[in-house]
Symmetry: C2
Subunit: 248 residues, 2 copies
DNA sequence: TCCGGTCTTTGATCCGGATCAAATGAAAGG
DNA sequence: CCTTTCATTTGATCCGGATCAAAGACCGGA
């Protein structure tokens, strides 16, 4: 709930870059200045809920650091993660007050926010901001549909491999289509959270991780730190065609 | 491929209403006239492919009559439907030339189309069109995420019930939240297509339909014509909370 | 009317992943 | 250092839905 002032001068700080890239790649300096005035920071603790399903969500923004998830839950407690927010990802629904899912910080998290109403007003006067948001939403929709294929048709092993492929790709340079060679990265999620993302149980996730390790597809120094000796070898396990799945 | 002239005067025809509702709820008459000039019609036969995955898609538009599907396919033939297009639904990706899925007519189909390029240009000059498209895309995204919950966590019986609930709701007045009493409608899809939508096999779909019939949740006069004696009874089977799942 | 094809139902069996259960490991606090 | 707690691994068993197989049901065409 607390509002945090940026720690660096606006024009220099990395956060602004992120905000700028996420929201508008083409703002002129006037618009940039208006965005600059509007923005504020919010911090959340690991495990803290940011928005509850069916609650009002009066801001939009992007993740500066940390990880957040979008989840849907059934009455009896069955959960399905429907989105994973990594640094530079955008959250929020311009034009929508109510989110149909929970947003939760899974690690300590800092977000760069804009109040929804004034942001929407700016959207009405600067057409390319609306177009940029449309682009981002289409990207999310593509990702969601790719995920539907995973949830509906892939085996447990393919699901794990697909998930790790996305993380590995993200780690080795933003959006690099098919990274080469060895990649090391941290797992941001517990086995249970991975299970919720992949439509599995935590035991199955654990077993399949062990199996992939046994088969030399990955190495686990610590439980949450992964090395993939060969990205291509991992990608073969996803069931996607060779050029690599998550095409946007 | 053929272009079809509208059968009625533009201002009177039902197609225009559909197009108008789908694309822009707030056009003034100048913009309406521009849209009117741009639009054309295309017909497709049942089973015909409209766009292939990874092919260019040089138009956007809305379904006038008939049913189309969006599907993703893995190399080995596993298929997952990622969208179902009913009359008045919008298709197309302004700003995107390439679709990452197949679009297929499952019945004979008529679409009201606009060429993508000029449509995009109009989007740039009339901000509320971009906003309208953003709204529609957010709706699709919500639906996709709801579907992720279904694919990842629901039982076969719940999947079928959820699917029928959507059709029943759609049948009894567009977007009516929770229709009352008895509803009769046609199944637009074969058992196999339903299976591809729900992440099941056609045998499981058939068995669960039989089970729901045996339990009095639905009646099957013909194989593809369904009567739901009580919408609420059906909704109970979906696993969603009482107010009815697919909240937008 | 019969025939061939497609869609659908139903039965029998199998298997991948869920469930139940227990042990191990690793970090946090007294 | 020991206890507590939580994440993870691993084992044993079960079950829902997949797979394999066969038999209707329906339709259009000869």
């Amino acid at each position: 709930m607390s509002l945090h002032a940026p720690k660096l001068a606006p024009r220099d700080c990395g956060d602004c870059q992120i905000r700028h890239r996420a929201v508008c790649a083409r703002c002129d300096s006037d618009e940039l200045a208006r965005l600059e005035e509007m923005k504020y920071y919010r911090s959340f603790q690991a495990g803290q809920n940011i928005v509850w399903s069916a609650d009002r969500m009066d801001f939009v923004g992007s993740v500066v650091s940390g990880i957040a998830t979008l989840t849907q839950t059934m009455e009896d407690g069955r959960r399905q993660m429907v989105g994973l927010l990594l640094p530079s990802d955008f959250v929020g629904r311009p034009g929508r007050a109510i989110a149909p899912y929970d947003v939760t910080a899974v690690t300590d998290l800092v977000m760069c926010c804009f109040r929804r109403k004034p942001f929407e007003e700016m959207m009405g006067t600067t057409p390319h901001v609306a177009q940029r948001l449309l682009e981002m939403t289409l990207d999310e929709l593509d990702a969601a549909r790719e995920w539907m294929l995973l949830l509906g048709r892939k085996t447990a092993r393919e699901k794990i491999a697909s998930f790790l492929t996305i993380l590995a790709r993200r780690e080795s340079g933003l959006k690099a289509r098919a990274p080469k060679g060895q990649i090391t990265f941290d797992l941001p999620l517990t086995r249970e959270e991975m299970a919720d993302y992949l439509g599995l149980t935590l035991e199955t996730v654990s077993r399949q991780m062990s199996a992939l390790k046994r088969d030399g597809v990955l190495e686990l120094e610590e439980k949450r730190r992964i090395t993939v000796p060969s990205f291509d070898r991992l990608a073969e396990e996803t069931g996607d065609d060779a050029d690599g799945g998550m095409l946007a």
